[in-house]
């Protein structure tokens, strides 16, 4: 596990001379892309030039033009508008997974690292088990057979993500456990809960933040894969993975209908991974633990 020696001043207060920084242009660009995607997720239908489901068979399967910047699909729907509106499905699910795994994983990880013993043993074995499981494959089988689509997939992915988070937090908490400030707090008679949440956890924040970004990227990739297989969002809801599958047959007539959402997935996931790695790298020795 990576050594975290940053003081408890949080994320921005650790300019290290050691860390090689990535070109900040790249990070700025990544942050810009993520903000853009989030804006589209919040207000997509207002931003989009056309209705996401507005069909117009007269202009079906057109190549990009000034009117339809990325062309249209075989129902005459504007591809750009569908990508913009589809940002919502690309943000909500991954955000739920990242936050869900964050809450459960951190709670269990703190308890395991702080108290040790049986809880610790159990959580570590669970993490061992989950680590080698092909999460997406399990989601395919469960969602495909049980049904329930998007939110069942989100639940399955939370279940398969939080043990890994717990293990990462546990390792970091274990290192903090023996620091003098924890001993001091315990000596003062502060309750275990308060020591864990108010004293130890803030010191883990950089690691936790970085990991949450990486989880977001992974979840986006997994959920879009499910939608690509027709197991994600309902058919009519615009979604990048679903658009890829529906427009794959148009790749020769309007390639952008297919490449557009593909590029959207790649840009968003890469940006999230870059931001996560950047946070991690700035605040820790080197991203070896991942």
């Amino acid at each position: 596990m990576t050594v975290i020696t940053a003081p408890d001043t949080g994320l921005l207060a650790a300019p290290r001379k050691r860390g090689r920084r990535r070109p900040s242009v790249l990070i700025a660009l990544s942050i810009l892309i993520v903000l853009l995607v989030v804006a589209c997720a919040l207000a997509g239908s207002q931003i989009a030039p056309f209705g996401a489901n507005a069909q117009n068979l007269i202009v079906a399967t057109q190549a990009p033009s000034a009117h339809h910047l990325l062309g249209t699909d075989d129902f005459g729907r504007d591809v750009l508008s569908r990508i913009i509106v589809g940002a919502r499905a690309a943000v909500i699910g991954p955000a739920l997974i990242a936050v869900g795994a964050l809450i459960i994983g951190n709670a269990l990880g703190l308890i395991a690292g702080y108290f040790g013993g049986r809880v610790d043993y159990f959580i570590m074995r669970l993490a061992d088990l989950v680590w080698a499981l092909p999460g997406l494959l399990i989601a395919i089988v469960v969602v495909g057979v049980i049904g329930g689509g998007y939110y069942v997939a989100v639940t399955v992915l939370i279940v398969l993500t939080f043990p890994i988070d717990a293990r990462i937090v546990r390792g970091a908490a274990l290192q903090q456990r023996n620091m003098p400030y924890v001993e001091a707090a315990v000596t003062l008679g502060i309750s275990s809960r308060r020591v864990m949440l108010r004293h130890i956890w803030p010191n883990l924040l950089p690691l936790v933040m970085a990991n949450t970004f990486l989880n977001f990227a992974f979840s986006l990739v997994a959920l879009s894969g499910l939608s690509f297989l027709g197991l994600g969002v309902p058919l009519n809801t615009p979604d990048w993975g679903g658009m890829l599958a529906q427009n794959l047959s148009l790749i020769q007539s309007n390639a952008m209908a297919c490449l557009g959402p593909a590029i959207a997935i790649v840009l968003t996931a890469t940006s999230m991974n870059l931001i996560g790695d950047w946070i991690y790298e700035r605040l820790s020795d080197r991203g070896r633990a991942r």
């Binding site: 080698a132 092909p134 049980i146 879009s224 894969g225 690509f228 997935i265 991974n273």
Partner: protein, 321 residues
């Protein structure tokens, strides 16, 4: 003494694996048993129904038995490689899987070879030139590989190399070995991209740790040649963490194959899974899941065996703890 330890270790591991596989088979069966939807309706399809037909179907598929009874029956069949009959096609699940698995194994091995042949050297170079421009470029590629799902890289390759310049076929598995290699090149590279990124990341991290060790410096000081130091001294010791992740890597390969087969319309086992999931063909999904679990468990067992040979320090007795 050592042989005895090794055999105790092996017997213990195999027992543990059998228990694990039984547990998984129970979960798989239970999950699909609880799945909504009436098997009779799927079986009937558009055929007219009558009480006699329903009773006959129930008898044929043992739907009147208790849950445990059905599970034991299924398990008994599974041990004899009889996984039941596909509802959708009427063929046995074993023959359905058997007729399609060859293509997927071909694709998986092809992609795995590409990943190892590109990923390990790139990881070693990145570790040797840690924090140089080359390292950054390699790390950048691996970051992209982790961010780009296999079906997306598949679509890019399809567009660029099959449709735009037309060097490769757009879809289909091809017949004969050479034709098959040619047909599966794009799918294999699409699948390999993410796998390679993972192997590269693991190799790089592991090599950086090993190259900092004193024995590397001593070997260099003794005048051991650089190639020998990197391969015999460093890479051999760096292999541990990479091989440990073998199960993880295999999982990525299987999942990726399911997606890539969809992109390139390959009639492999992944496509079988997706069509069966869509048709609620429960016996096939059960069979696939059990097979995937068995493959992953067997792979993890082989990884444990590899350890015995790679790292002589691990005595079998300690490894069994």
């Amino acid at each position: 003494m050592r042989t005895r330890q090794v055999s105790v270790f092996l017997v213990r591991r195999i027992l543990a694996l059998v228990i694990l596989l039984l547990l998984i088979s129970f979960l798989v069966f239970g999950l699909l048993y609880l799945a909504p939807g009436n098997a009779i309706q799927v079986l009937l399809g558009t055929h007219p129904s009558s009480p006699a037909i329903i009773a006959a179907l129930k008898a044929k598929y043992h739907l009147n038995d208790s849950f445990i009874g059905q599970y034991l029956l299924w398990l008994k069949g599974a041990v004899h490689l009889n996984l039941g009959i596909s509802i959708q096609t009427g063929q046995t699940v074993t023959s359905l899987i058997g007729s399609r698995i060859g293509l997927t194994i071909f694709l998986g091995i092809y992609a795995f070879l590409i990943s190892v042949l590109l990923g390990v050297p790139a990881g070693v170079i990145a570790a040797m030139r840690n924090r140089s421009v080359a390292d950054r470029a390699i790390v950048g590629v691996s970051l992209l590989g982790v961010s780009v799902p296999a079906f997306v890289s598949g679509i890019f390759l399809l567009y660029l190399l099959a449709i735009d310049v037309g060097w490769f076929p757009v879809y289909g598995p091809g017949g004969g070995f050479v034709d098959r290699v040619w047909h599966l090149t794009l799918p294999a590279f699409a699948l390999a991209f993410g796998v390679m990124a993972l192997i590269l990341k693991l190799t790089r991290a592991s090599m950086i740790t090993v190259l900092e060790q004193d024995y590397i410096a001593f070997a260099q000081a003794r005048g051991v040649g650089p190639v020998r130091v990197i391969i015999r001294y460093a890479l051999r010791n760096a292999l541990g963490p990479i091989i440990t992740a073998g199960g993880l890597i295999l999982g990525v390969v299987i999942t990726g194959a399911v997606l890539v087969e969809q992109v390139f319309a390959l009639p492999g086992i992944g496509t079988l899974l997706i069509t069966s999931v869509e048709a609620k063909d429960v016996p096939v999904v059960q069979g696939f899941t059990l097979l995937a679990a068995a493959i992953l468990i067997a792979a993890n067992f082989l990884i444990d065996l590899c350890y015995l040979f790679i790292d002589p320090r691990i005595t079998a007795g300690r490894g069994a703890q």
